[in-house]
Symmetry: C2
Subunit: 207 residues, 2 copies
């Protein structure tokens, strides 16, 4: 989009930096506020600059970790995340904002409202020349009808359900990789949800 | 853009709110950090939600004031802004992000680096059925050659200079209002810069 009407990301980073300095004055050193600001600055940097640029899976996992760090401040006891990124896969390319929306989805649609602490597993490995990315939660799960509904939204030509992170992400996967990209949704009421994405492994980073 | 890859604006607001609560714990009440966060939250809200929605000039001035409030924290003695928004004009429609980028432009290209405190005047009035918006600074000004360069960038079919707020804003004005929108750049080295935009007055807000 050539004619952007967005706020200059540099302005946002600079404002956050000024806020962080102010709070350091209050406590005499780094504190929870500065740590949150640090994560938030990295999130803004990643999401506001060059959304079309291809990222590596290492970038994607780093971004998702910053997101989770902020959410952990907010929902201390709601969940924990197990991260597993195969070094072989970490230097492969990925569309930006692939991992974080799936984790967001797991938090809000899988775990929130549960009375026990949930676990989200974020795993990425190489399967020959294919990247296999799995985000699984042990939350409340979904019915077959709901899975079918989501699948219909993903496959629909018209835009709908675009505010649902899972739908949006699977659509972007198909748009970018065509038939070479695939998704799988496994879920059962009471037994969590497991999203698996597969797409071609293209090495773009340095090992 | 249906398939956005942006960070959920709600997440950003919520994170900023959590940071503000943390800093209130440090000082026992509202402080400079919470005030900056408040301005920043409003800026994010305005710039990240519905960029295509038509705003009123009241919205535009409120957004520019939040932007200036943050910049005043950062550059305390660099500049001051005189605001003048005709109540008649305030309920008229405007494309979003019309005023703030021109003020940003005045700060960074007009005033920064000057050894005295500059003044920016932001004025908007109705001129019959036309909105007349003027952003003027008393900073270092520009040569005729530079004005011609900017004009060429604005009128060019290809994209270039799009990172310059002034160029971007004038282009968006033309794109939105066609021949009914016009811009005027007046400047002289050492004698400040004056940008005047004119576009049809369409009342969309409540008086």
């Amino acid at each position: 989009l050539a004619l952007q009407s967005q706020t200059n990301p540099h302005f946002l980073f600079n404002a956050l930096t000024t806020i962080a300095f102010k709070t350091i004055q209050y406590t005499g050193g780094p504190n929870d506020a500065t740590r949150m600001i640090d994560h938030l600055s990295r999130i803004l940097e990643y999401s506001l600059t060059d959304p079309e640029r291809e990222a590596t899976l290492a970038d994607e996992f780093a971004h998702a970790r910053n997101y989770v760090a902020i959410q952990e401040f907010r929902y201390r006891d709601l969940f924990r995340v197990e991260w597993e990124l195969d070094p072989e896969a970490s230097t492969c390319g990925a569309i930006k904002m692939l991992v974080q929306p799936l984790i967001e989805n797991a938090i809000y649609h899988g775990l929130q409202g549960s009375d026990r602490r949930g676990t989200i597993a974020a795993r990425c490995r190489l399967d020959g020349s294919t990247v296999s990315l799995t985000i699984a939660d042990d939350g409340r799960g979904m019915s077959d009808e709901r899975i079918e509904e989501l699948r219909a939204m993903i496959e629909a030509d018209h835009v709908g359900g675009g505010t649902i992170g899972l739908v949006n992400t699977c659509r972007r996967l198909k748009l970018r990789y065509g038939a070479a990209g695939s998704y799988l949704i496994e879920s059962e009421p009471g037994n969590g949800t497991r999203i698996m994405l597969r797409f071609p492994a293209i090495r773009i980073g340095c090992a």
